[in-house]
Every structure is written in structure tokens, then in C-alpha cells.
Amino acid sequence: MVQRILNDPDNIVDEMISGFLKTHKDIVEATENNRVIKAKNIPKDKVGIITGGGSGHKPAFIGYVGKNMCDAVAVGEVFSSPTAMAFLDAAKAVDQKKGVACLYGNYSGDNMNVKMAIKMAIKQGITIKSVIANDDVASAPKNQREKRRGVAGEILMWKIGGAKAAQGGNLDEVIAAAQKAIDSTRSVGIGLSPCTLPAAGHPNFEIKPGMMEMGIGHHGEPGMEICSLKTAKEIAEKMINIVIPDYPFKEQDEVVVLVSGLGATPVMELYVLYNEIEKLIKTKNIIIYKAYVGNYFTSLEMKGATLTIMKLDQELKKLIDMPAYTMGLKQK
């Protein structure tokens, strides 16, 4: 028996969308495709920013629709890619003949569906270009970066891509900025307890009490290592030691740090973890320009956290500083 608030697990995504639209009337609106949500009052003549992904990651993905971030999102079942049709309809909903940037995460379902959507879009005279987030260091060795998953780094990619489009960048410039953002970004996740798919009756996998999983994916994909549960300080060290050398981030680099909970870890603990991460980054003489801490990209009710670091240059700095107004990220 899963302790959940729901009606029929098969309808959870549609009901969630309905509740979301009712709550955030000022930010989002429905489209003809009930699996596509778009921003209200999209500024004229700009490149459209779309994304899409499985449900169960709130605020991602629909929580990042709004001012200066995504213009439309394709919504999939829990942990499943949206359909090609939904990606296509998202593009159609925001296309202003300036082209559409589809900024999404590297999962085989999403890859296939986006590819198909792009093919269909071409037939309809819409240009979609895409950037595939692959920030999750733990998911493949560095020489196979193209295999790495996209995780919370996607949020920074949307922030940068959305801001570039808002500035009036053309499609290639938007794509280049988003690509630079994700290329400058590295993440890693740790899991402390599993999640349960609403339609399944039992946890997806197991993490034994007293243990933790390093490098877990945000669908609970198994990580690199199962080890005994460490202190916040030790966890921070482990995460930092995976993320920093991979890029590598170096002395005097200015970075954005994003610590996201996976759903059920009290936010209090995320601040405790960030407190340690900040100290370690300082020790390395890396400069934290901005930090985000909270439940930004979750995995249902998993316990755990992800660490994401993005290296900034002058352009990225300006773009990260632009205001944003979405359910998941509001910034002056």
C-alpha cells in the first residue's frame, strides 16, 4: 500500500496538469494538446524555448515555464518521455517563425521522440534545433559524455537559453548559449531512499537503511557505488570530488551552484549539505557567484540530493542574472 494522495494512478498526470493550470493561471495556460502547457503572454518575435520530459520531477518540467525560461513544455507519463506529437505541438504552440530551441535531457525515449518531432516539424515548416543536457557525471565516463544523463543542470540550461531568447538572440545564438551552459555544467546525485511509481505498489529499488547510493539517477537509476551513509561533510566531499575534477573547475573560476533535493529530504538538510559544499568550494578558491538550494528537480519522494556546478563566463553571468518568473524559479 503506497501512502499517496491520488485517485487513479493512470490519471495522475492529467489531474496534476489540471491542478497546476488552475493554480498558476498568471503564468501558464493550456493548449489544444492536453499534454502541452505554454507560458502566458509570450513576448513577440522571439525564439521559442521548449522542453519536455517525464512527470514526477516537480518543479521540472512544467514548473519552469514562464518569463525568460521555457515557453512550452511537453508532459510525459511518470518517468516516461512525452510523445513525439507532444514535442511537436509544444513547438507549434510557441513558433513565431524565429525557430524553436528544444532543450531537453539525454534519455533514449526523449531522444527518439524529439528526433521524430523534429522530422515532423520540418514537414510543417517549423525549424527545431535541440540541445541535449548531459550533465550527470556519474552516468558515463568522460570519454563517453554523449551517453551521460541530463539532470538538474537542465534547469541552468533552460535559464540560460530562455534568457538568451528573451534578449532577442536568434535560434543559433540561443542554441549556442544553451549548449555552452550545459557544456559548462556538471552534476552528481546521491540517493538515501527509493521512490515508488504511483502505479506500482512498491519501491522501485532498494536502499538499505544506513546505506546510500552515490551517482544515482533521478529516476532511481542505480549509481556508481553503494556505500555506508556518511555525514553531510563527507557526502559533500564525495560529491565535490566527482564534480569538480570532471569539468574541471579551477581556481578563480566563477560558478553557479545548485543543490536540489530529490523530493523527500527535508529542505533543512539541503542547507546543511550546501553549507559543507560551500566550504569545500571556497577551499579550492573557486568563487560561488550564485547559489540555488531547494527542491528544484525531484524524483517523486526519493530521499537524496543532487549537486550541480556551472562555470560562468561574461555572457552566462548576464544570462543567469536575468529575472525569471516561473513556478519553480522566481528571480528578480
Partner: protein, 215 residues
């Protein structure tokens, strides 16, 4: 008989639906081991929606495949939408003009589905995906066409080939899809897509056998 009537094919689709429904939990649990646990659920959702929407009326084998494929592709998404969507639509298009389907026809139909899939995925036999089920199944059929084996016998051999193909994934290391990131940790577990593919192909064979028997 050595052919079956395309228009009698509904029973085949019904068997496919049933096997997915019955194995929903098993497929989900398998996916949970090295994936994200949603395979059974998504497959069940798609196949059950197909049943609900189309199975009040009669339809042919290829029309059924086409509608199921379109539904998976356009309404289910995930990895299975494009993958099985492509396979089933490819099969449907290859056979939609046929009134009767022989072993050779069926082999060509499956080959068309397989070829469609090869265009959209990079995975090949040995990569611990459903390709490991599909490929040997097709090979078995094609061999039996050449050998002129009886349709029913070929269907039984095809089932065995699909099963063996699926089981062969157990010792493989995943190279595509979600579990590919696990490397060695993916070894020792069946690939869930290869299992659902086996179940579907076995149901297809059983359905065809049933029609062949009726005659």
C-alpha cells in the same frame, strides 16, 4: 492451411494485449532492477487503451497493428511509443494490402518492422535491448521460409527463438537505454524490453496458430 486471413487477425492483437496486461507487474519489476520501473505500466497503459478504444469492433491483423502502433507513438511516448510504434506501423504498412498472409509474408512483415526500428535506434543484437529478441526471431522465420517449414512449426520455432533471444540478454552488459549507464552492474538481469518483446511475439505466434487451427 499455410496462410491465414488478414481480416481474422483481431484475435492476435487480443492475445498481445492480454499478455502485456498479465505481465504488467513483472515487466515493471524487471525495469526497476536496472531501469526506472515504468515499463510494465506504460506498456499496459498503451495496450489497454488500444483494447478499450478499438476492440469493440472487428479489425484485421494489419489494421490492428497500425492502430496500436499509432496509439503507442502518439499517446504513450516513453521509449516504447517510438520503438513499438515504429515496429508495429512498419509491419502494418508492409502487410496492409494482403488478404492472406503466408509464412513468407509474415516473415517479410516482421522484417519491415525490424528495419523500421533499425532506422531509429542504434542498438544492435548484443546490446541488451529488445533487439536481442527481435533479431533472432526474425532470423528463425527467415530460415524457415527458405527451408519451407510448415507455418505452425515455424511459429513454434519463432517463439523458442524469441524466448532464447530474450534470455540471452541476461548475461549481456547494457549499451543503450537507461541501464546502459550501469556497465557491469547491468549484467545478470534480463532486459525488460527484450522480455516484453518476447511476450508480444509469442502472443502473435499463438494468435496466428489459433487462426490457422480454426480452418
Amino acid at each position: 492451411m499455410n496462410v491465414f486471413e488478414n481480416k481474422k487477425g483481431k484475435i492476435i492483437l487480443l492475445k498481445m494485449v492480454k499478455t502485456i496486461q498479465e505481465n504488467k507487474v513483472y515487466l515493471g519489476d524487471l525495469d526497476g532492477l536496472i531501469g526506472d520501473g515504468d515499463h510494465g505500466m506504460n506498456m499496459n497503459k498503451g495496450f489497454s487503451l488500444f483494447e478499450k478504444r478499438y476492440c469493440k469492433n472487428d479489425f484485421s491483423f494489419t489494421d490492428g497493428l497500425k492502430n496500436l502502433g499509432m496509439l503507442l507513438m502518439n499517446e504513450i511516448g516513453g521509449s516504447m511509443g517510438p520503438i513499438y510504434g515504429t515496429v508495429f506501423i512498419g509491419m502494418a504498412e508492409a502487410g496492409e494490402n494482403l488478404e492472406t498472409i503466408s509464412l513468407e509474408d509474415f516473415s517479410k512483415i516482421l522484417e519491415a518492422g525490424y528495419n523500421g526500428l533499425m532506422e531509429i535506434v542504434e542498438a544492435r543484437a548484443g546490446d541488451k535491448t529488445l533487439v536481442d529478441t527481435l533479431f533472432p526471431t526474425l532470423k528463425s522465420l527467415k530460415t524457415d521460409v527458405v527451408l519451407g517449414v510448415d507455418f505452425v512449426v515455424a511459429l513454434d520455432k519463432m517463439k523458442a527463438a524469441a524466448k532464447q533471444g530474450s534470455e540471452s540478454t541476461k548475461d549481456m552488459v547494457a549499451r543503450y537505454g537507461r541501464s546502459s549507464r550501469l556497465g557491469e552492474r547491468s549484467r545478470g538481469v534480463l532486459d525488460t524490453g527484450s522480455v516484453s518483446c518476447y511476450l508480444i511475439l509469442a502472443a502473435m505466434a499463438d494468435g496466428i496458430k489459433e487462426i490457422l487451427k480454426e480452418l
